[in-house]
């Protein structure tokens, strides 16, 4: 079993199920589980299981939960903000599509692995390329609608929303086609592309979540002060866990390599600093929390 990938996935699932149940945390647990399931077990590492990844996974789960609660609060308070959240989620999905497989999707190509074992997936490339174009158009139209401060129900808003829904649908289809094609043709290729697949699953999941908030929940609820306070508390706990993960990474580096000044420690310390930034009671709270989540994701994906 790929313990190095499975253990953080289990921690994320635990957070999603019991500690701070939220859609985003569940999505992250599912993405981590995809990597753990598809990647073969590596050679046993002399360092053994890295404990810092477990603490960082806990921090990520809590931070994602706090981010979702904060985003929900802003979406409920204003439909325009919900539109902005959906537009940003669309851009995140577009950026993810460009980032995976070295940006080959821009040339209508997508594959898994490298060198002689590379597996080209032309069918998935077509669907994912279309998803990219449609989502980009949807995000831009939705953002333009938001900038214009047009009234609710205005055509541009509806078109943007429809394009985003189509982009999310095509994206989910593309991920499924890519996984299906790769599974039937080369399980090794699928293992090589596991991280890309997990990233796409997470990004399209975030887009679907933002669209559901936009379509179903916007303008229908009242945010209680208790919910906001609880979200703040969870965010502080996430920042504490991230700081503890950085300290653990430093201790593990000192024990294994003789120094705490390792790349792992630098990555986790960077994420911990973003946690410290996120808890400051000042402007752009949602953006700072999103950065914190991204920092933790980056630190954990480097270790995966």
């Amino acid at each position: 079993m790929n313990l190095a990938a499975a253990a953080p996935a289990a921690v994320l699932a635990l957070v999603a199920a019991a500690v701070a149940p939220r859609t985003l945390t569940g999505l992250m647990a599912a993405s981590a589980a995809v990597i753990a399931a598809l990647r073969p077990a590596p050679e046993p590492s002399p360092e053994g299981l890295e404990v810092w990844t477990l603490v960082a996974a806990l921090a990520l789960g809590l931070a994602a939960s706090a981010f979702e609660a904060a985003a929900e609060a802003t979406a409920l308070s204003s439909r325009i903000r919900a539109g902005w959240t959906a537009a940003v989620a669309g851009l995140v999905w577009v950026a993810t599509l460009i980032a995976v497989d070295g940006g080959r999707i821009l040339r209508w190509r997508y594959g898994m692995g490298a060198g002689e074992r590379r597996l080209e997936l032309p069918g998935a490339a077509l669907v994912l390329g279309l998803a990219l174009l449609v989502t980009l158009a949807g995000s831009l139209v939705t953002a333009a609608h938001g900038l214009a401060r047009a009234p609710e129900g205005y055509r541009a808003g509806r078109i943007g929303q429809s394009l985003l829904v189509l982009g999310a649908g095509l994206g989910a289809l593309g991920v499924a086609v890519a996984a299906g094609q790769a599974f039937s043709r080369s399980p090794e290729g699928l293992a090589a592309g596991a991280r890309d697949l997990a990233a796409m699953l997470l990004a399209v999941g975030v887009l679907v979540w933002a669209l559901v908030r936009l379509i179903v929940a916007a303008g229908t609820g009242i945010v209680s002060a208790d919910a906001v306070l609880r979200s703040d508390r969870i965010l502080r706990l996430a920042a504490a866990a991230a700081m503890l993960a950085a300290a653990t990474a430093g201790a593990e580096g000192w024990r294994a390599d003789g120094t705490y000044a390792t790349a792992t420690m630098a990555g986790s310390a960077s994420a911990a600093l973003l946690g410290l930034v996120a808890v400051q009671p000042t402007r752009l709270g949602l953006a700072r929390t999103a950065l914190f989540v991204l920092g933790l994701l980056a630190a954990l994906s480097r270790a995966a």
């Binding site: 053994g48 504490a240 700081m243 024990r255 705490y260 960077s270 600093l273 410290l276 400051q280 000042t282």
Partner: protein, 293 residues
């Protein structure tokens, strides 16, 4: 004071510091150490100035301890690499500065000899007039104020020797030839002219090595007997492939004898424990601040 207590300042400093420390940041964008120190100082001052309760003060104090410890290690600590072959000793290591810049040799304060390297990668270092230290992969060892960690097995691509089989009318013999040192075997003088660890031919049919790993070793040998001279090509994958006219011996490359060498990471970080304790203190402060009012 009002500006220092502004939370936006702490957020901005933390954000810039987080970006500056991230390992994915391209080297050309890395700020100089003095900028990082200034940002850390501003962040700590802002956190302490803005602290309203015990949890906030704990976060600020923890950050201060981390900043002081990292600063102390930056000024008084040393980090570098020690490369040794089996049987080789050294009293100094190659010190590295920030960004991995080489600073020159720094004395260890003791002599260390590489005794042997086990199959599992455990390195046995014998200290002059002292004990034998075992540095295991994933488990660094301490000696003389330094931490010694396994960094990797050195692979320069240069073999210690090529093992050749020389077959002739009188029978066959095996000989080891080192680069730059010709050997006598069966009345022949054999020297290595060129070595290809991973032999391949390019588009113009010119030989080259695809990598420094001995995956497909081959060599061009200079063979002399009296006034006669031949150039013989040997490749491990095809023994005896080249038989030059006039040479009544068949030369084959049977093996490559590699040098057993390791690189060790050498670190002296006197404030490591304080840095990690400061982080734990900051985490405690953040966690304490999350408790219900």
């Amino acid at each position: 004071m009002k500006l220092l207590a502004w939370r936006g300042l702490a957020a901005a400093c933390g954000l810039l510091l987080g970006a500056a420390l991230h390992p994915a940041l391209p080297a050309m964008l890395h700020p100089p150490p003095v900028t990082i120190a200034a940002l850390a100082l501003l962040l700590v001052t802002s956190l302490l100035a803005a602290a309203r309760d015990a949890a906030g003060r704990l976060v600020g104090t923890g950050a201060l301890v981390v900043a002081l410890a990292l600063g102390y290690d930056g000024l008084r600590g040393h980090r570098g690499l020690l490369a040794l072959e089996v049987g080789q000793g050294s009293q100094s290591f190659e010190e590295e500065g920030p960004e991995g810049r080489l600073l020159g040799l720094r004395p260890l304060g003791f002599g260390a000899f590489l005794e042997h390297v086990d199959a599992d990668g455990t390195v046995a270092l014998r200290v002059e007039n002292g004990p034998t230290i075992a540095v295991r992969p994933g488990r660094a060892a301490s000696y003389g104020g330094f931490r010694l960690g396994a960094f990797g097995r050195a692979g320069s691509g240069e073999p210690a020797a090529l093992r050749l089989a020389v077959a002739g009318p009188q029978g066959s013999s095996v000989v080891e030839v080192r680069a730059g040192t010709p050997v006598e075997a069966d009345g022949l003088q054999i020297a290595v002219e060129q070595y290809f660890p991973d032999f391949a031919l390019d588009a113009k049919q010119q030989p080259y090595s695809r990598s420094s790993e001995p995956r497909n070793p081959a060599a061009l040998l200079r063979v002399r007997r009296g006034s006669e001279s031949w150039r013989v090509f040997v490749i491990r994958a095809m023994p005896g492939i080249h038989r030059p006219a006039g040479l009544d011996r068949v030369l084959s490359l049977t093996d490559v004898v590699t040098t057993e060498a390791v690189s060790l990471r050498v670190s002296r970080e006197p404030a490591a424990a304080a840095a990690l304790a400061g982080m734990a203190l900051t985490a405690l402060g953040l966690g304490w601040g999350a408790r219900p009012a």
